[in-house]
Amino acid sequence: MLANQLAALTEPPGVAEALTVIDGFDDVIVAGLGRVNDATSTGLAGLAAAVADSPLGGPVRAAVEKVVRGGVDDDQVALLAGARTAVFGAVHDALLTSLDAALGRTRSEPAPAVVQEPGQDPAVEGARSWLRDVAIAGWRGVDEDLITAAGQPIESLYPVVARRRLAMVLAGLSEELGACVPIANLPQLPARRWTDLWTRAVLLSRMSTVDASAAPVTNGRLLPLGVDMHEHGTAVQLQLHGVLEDKGQTRLVRASVSAGKVETIAGPGVWPLLHRHPVLLRALAERRCLHLTDMPLLPEGDLLWADDRAAAGDPVDEFATARLALPTTVAPAVAPLNRHPATIGEVVLVEGYRCDGGALVLGGERLGLALDRLPAAGPLSPAHVAASSACLGLLRWNGGAWRLQPMAVQTTVKKKNVTVRTADWAMGPTDPKVAKATGDAVSVLSERAGRLLRR
């Protein structure tokens, strides 16, 4: 990424106005749909007006009128969540279009959304009614009893793969609400964040995830670029970004693997939880490419990882891959329902900068660093980034600004040139001090539980 590309990354027209609509609606959910007054009904009216010219226009206007009169049911909740999603979808599209233009990146065309109704399922019903109760109470009114009530639907949803996404988002949200008890005493609430999660959950409670068994397969070579890690109390996800070469064509793809987790397992202790994907983990630790055989690939660039359909190949240098492939490789389309600025994470390579701690300075332009997204599971630290000369990372948009989340850097440690990556410890920490401190959390926990069972 060059200075002139960075300079071209300005806020697209309309984004500020759309975010004002979002903030107005989020204030309604802070106060609660059970307490709509003159001030908050403006927020609802603003949302209805924003989607008035779309197919959602009529139904959303009717839902708002009903809520203002004092009636809240699941269908109105879903319409409000749908309208908010549509507004954020427009913001997402504007941001991604301007990013693609700045980077000169070509993107494939999206396929239409295919959504299946979830069918009759008491656990999904339970999730919907919890989400409705939360919206009625408002974030200010959420108390410990309401947070605890999320536990039942989460427990029933978690084991079912088609409900996993809903379970994960409910678990993350309720865990975070629990960490903020008593919420009424908080001076300021993370209103956009919580309402984002609530909105995602409402939509997920209205759909089943698409059956991916019909996805086309690929037989290409996957060249890793970098690894992004996600984690809350009960889930961890590794997302590998890479370049797929297949029949002479290259495209940007991701491979995601996730596992259930407990809060007490953190830092480098999360790698063993992903043990069911040994080929992937070893290739990441040994910095190798991967040869794929009949690996399913969704149109949005997501490989449905099957470890037995992958074999590790030769060692590869991700910076060489990025220099060669990034300028011309086609980026994947975004699935219609995933269009939200928080899901944007575009791989870029930045070189020829000076780091001033919190930002990379590139020919007079500054690119802020998302150093709070460097995972404790890996060795890549803010000090490595500060001393670096090249950085491979994800461009993220959050709180009104673009920032770079580093995934790998070429840097200097004790006067030696080295490359440090987030996933270098995928087979366990290579730093003996860290390895000793990490231990084998899973077996300690099972042994202790066994003692309790016998007594």
Binding site: D23, E144, T148, P159, V161, R164, R165, V169, G172, G178, C180, V181, Q188, P190, A191, R192, R193, D196, L197, H230, E231, A235, R254, A255, S256, V257, S258, A259, G260, K261, V262, E263, T264, A266, G267, L274, R276, H277, P341, A342, T343, A370, R373, L374, P375, A376, A377, N398, G399, G439, A441, V444, L445, S446, R448, A449, R451, L452, R454, R455
Partner: protein, 161 residues
Amino acid sequence: MSEDDWRSSSVVRVAPPIRPRKLAKVPFVELAERRLQGVVSSGSDIERVYVSSIASRTHEFSCSTNNNRPCGGAGGSLCNHLRLLVDEAVQQYGADRVARYLGVTLPDGSEDVLGALHPKPNPSPAAPVFSRFLHHLAHLEIADSTEPLPELHWFPAGGSS
């Protein structure tokens, strides 16, 4: 981060990241059901584990084996198991969050949650805490997914320093 950023960011760190800790002495600790509660290994007998809890606000405490045999040390004051439980909770969640949950105010800069408690004994059954521990471990048994989970972009792993 300003209050405005806090309100208008999709991704903000609402609670400090959980800090890794050694699990052998206190395999389980949580702030739930209006209690700081957990499972503590016996200091003298590798075979034995205790279920220990301190209630939010009232600070009523309980410490017993799984079949409700009371801990000998938890008569009128906090036993070593309960002290360890508080220490490990502070390590895992940070003193502020533990203090807030238990309803105590710490002087500026203090991490002494133990010293701020007004504990009194009130034995409570061990089984519910024990079953929460097992339930918690069941998360490790859940079948993996390789379907992408886009919602987890709201939960970046962090904490590298």
